[in-house]
């Protein structure tokens, strides 16, 4: 190849890469870099940032200086929000798995022409506005809501159960909202599943439970791993659901971050918290993928 031809080939390669590069630079790396820079600046009086280099934001992610005594201690408020976010996200993943796996299995074992209808039923709520779905949950569980009214009418309880504005409410809301994200990947791995293997399991003296554990589950594992990640990650950063169903009492990370960019007027702290969230997600994913077995993830 001549020099000119090589140059032309190089140029057209860059041209073809341009859209991907543009997305990477302007949509992914760029904003992230801005957030990173902001986290090392000081807050402006009315929002925004002052261009002074400072570690203060990072410091106050987990530490705080007492206003009166100047004593330095852990920022309990932040830590409890971290803990609640991680706990509720893990529980959401677990809950969606408990309900999602049988659902996906049920759909995958229907006749081919009926599966699409079942999948549609799973996906339809996903097309509805998140806020509306969340308010629907609120209507169900509030003190004068459907559930409490029914229980009262049946005489099972004497006074309404406080469900709204609790961690339970957030968990319920997130599990409901993210359930399709668990069902879809599990269904995808079960759809390719050869159900003769189930017969082979029965034939080789495995009971139903053992077939599920030794044959079906290991082969659905890539779907379960993908589903858990798809549910856990957005749960950790969830904003709307904890805002509405937690009623501002049960903050999660998303709400805390929003607070810093809004009423708190501490953009650097918000930026540092955002990056902390990112770090938690990455650490959690690495730990999870290691524990779940590298191989399945790579193959799945």
């Amino acid at each position: 190849m001549s020099d000119a031809a090589t140059k032309r080939a190089t140029r057209s390669r860059w041209l073809l890469l341009a859209p991907a590069l543009a997305v990477l630079v302007f949509a992914a790396s760029g904003p992230l870099l801005i957030v990173l820079i902001y986290s090392f600046l000081t807050p402006g009086d009315y929002g925004g940032v002052e261009w002074n280099l400072s570690w203060d934001a990072w410091f106050s992610v987990i530490m705080e200086q007492d206003f009166f005594t100047d004593e330095i201690g852990f920022a309990d408020a932040h830590l409890s929000i971290f803990w609640r976010s991680i706990k509720l996200s893990l529980m959401t993943a677990l809950l969606t798995f408990i309900f999602g796996f049988p659902t996906a299995y049920f759909i995958a074992t229907r006749p081919k022409e009926k599966r699409d209808i079942w999948m549609l039923l799973i996906i339809i709520p996903f097309w509805t506005n998140l806020l509306i779905r969340t308010f629907a949950i609120m209507e169900l569980i509030r003190a004068e809501g459907t559930v409490n009214s029914a229980l009262l009418a049946l005489g099972i309880i004497d006074e309404p159960i406080q469900m709204l504005f609790t961690e339970f409410a957030i968990l319920l809301g997130m599990a409901y909202v993210y359930l399709p994200l668990m069902v879809l990947p599990i269904y995808a791995s079960l759809e390719r599943f050869d159900f003769t293997l189930v017969e082979a399991g029965y034939d080789l003296y495995a009971t139903r439970w053992r077939v599920l554990r030794k044959v079906i589950f290991p082969l659905a594992k890539p779907g379960v791993i993908a589903g858990s990640i798809l549910v856990f990650v957005p749960s950790l950063g969830a904003y709307v659901t904890p805002r509405v169903l937690g009623g501002g009492k049960q903050l999660m990370l998303g709400n805390l971050i929003e607070l810093q960019f809004g009423a708190g007027r501490n953009w650097p702290l918000g930026a540092a918290l955002s990056l902390t969230l990112l770090a938690i997600v990455m650490v959690a994913l690495i730990l999870y993928v290691r524990a779940a077995g590298n191989e399945e993830v790579r193959h799945g």
Partner: protein
């Protein structure tokens, strides 16, 4: 011994009910290589799955050594299956696949290991023990599926067209291998196939099935030489069908009048036939063109086809109909007959079988 007694299976879906098994009764003996042979949709696989426990019969009983099987779930039946698609567990190694049944029976670890090693040796897969099932060839997968099903030492091994996915050469090898495994392990094999040659070469006894019914049960020679009905004669091997008149019958010996008017001594089923018009089945290699004692069918040679091992002669019989003969070739044999020659098809006494329908 498996006793299948008046078993029927009617599938009722949204369409019309489909009778897959129609009042089937058969006894499969201990240590027998028993083959269910028939075209696709004849009910042979359904019968196999009834024995395995994947399908409940609509009516009838299945017992194994006197013990009722129908009430037992598949995982409690001392019966293992080699699936058509092998159904090896893709997330396990060869050795883990073979160990699966033993582990589910909660055998001690040392025993599992010992049996797996034995099974690997039996199917000559010892070097492949730690391979994934996706990393071995079709023939090897077949052998692993066999070893996996044999490892728990079932009383009966069910094989659902296990050779159909293999190429010709491999299939020949595996036929011998299966026969060897059966005699070495002494386990009863129930083998399902649509391939008549496979059935003839391997089986102790064959049940020929069609439309949910067993049409005939017998040894390979019985079935081939003495088919009882037109379906069996037609399905297994090549056959000439002649419209003849049954003159007399005594036991399995019968006298018939051929279309040519000659009287022939032929075989007949012991029951189910009466004097009058019947169909006579004659295998192409059983008739002769070179004379000798017997009844004669004159005709004109219409075609001669050389096949290497043998030569096929197509004869247009006087009075209509075509008869195909097959004769073994000898080295450097001169071809004496040519198309258009007058020939005489001779049926020696005992050649030809009267069919029930």
């Amino acid at each position: 011994m498996i006793e299948i007694n008046e078993v029927s299976k009617i599938f009722t879906g949204r369409g019309a009910p489909f009778t897959a098994l129609d009042n089937v009764s058969v006894t499969i003996r201990e240590n027998e290589f028993f083959t269910l042979l028939g075209p696709s949709g004849c009910g042979k696989t359904t019968l196999l799955r009834v024995i395995a426990g994947f399908i409940d019969p609509t009516k009838g009983t299945v017992t194994l050594d006197g013990q009722d099987l129908v009430s037992l779930p598949p995982y409690k039946r001392p019966v293992n299956t080699v699936f058509q698609s092998y159904a090896l567990f893709p997330h396990m190694t060869v050795a883990q696949n073979i160990a699966f049944g033993l582990e589910m029976l909660d055998k001690p670890r040392a025993e599992v290991k010992k049996t797996v090693d034995e099974m690997l040796a039996l199917v000559r897969m010892t070097e492949m023990a730690d391979r994934k099932t996706s990393e071995i060839s079709g023939g090897q997968q077949q052998r692993v599926a066999l070893a996996r099903a044999l490892a728990p030492r079932p009383k009966v091994l069910l094989l659902d067209e296990p050779l159909s996915a293999l190429d010709f050469k491999l299939r020949k090898d595996m036929q011998l291998e299966l026969k060897r495994l059966q005699s070495e392990t002494g386990i009863t094999f129930v083998f399902v196939t649509h391939d008549q040659e496979e059935a003839l070469t391997m089986s102790d006894r064959i049940a020929v099935m069609n439309a949910g019914k067993i049409r005939q049960i017998g040894g390979p020679r019985d079935i081939y030489d003495h088919p009882a009905e037109r379906f069996v004669a037609d399905f297994i091997g090549d056959t000439n069908f002649l419209d003849v008149e049954l003159l007399s019958i005594a036991g399995e010996q019968a006298t018939v009048r051929l279309p040519s008017g000659a009287e022939a001594q032929v075989r007949a089923p012991g029951e189910g036939v009466a004097p009058g018009p019947v169909t006579l089945a004659v295998r192409p290699e059983h008739a002769s063109l070179s004379g000798g004692a017997g009844a004669v069918l004159p005709g004109t040679l219409a075609n001669v086809v050389y096949f290497g091992t043998d030569t096929h002669y197509h004869v247009d019989l006087d009075g209509g109909g075509r008869f195909v003969l097959r004769q073994q070739n000898q080295p450097d044999q001169a071809q004496t007959r040519t198309v258009g020659d007058r020939v005489e098809v001779t049926l020696a006494p005992g050649v030809g079988q009267v069919l029930r329908d």
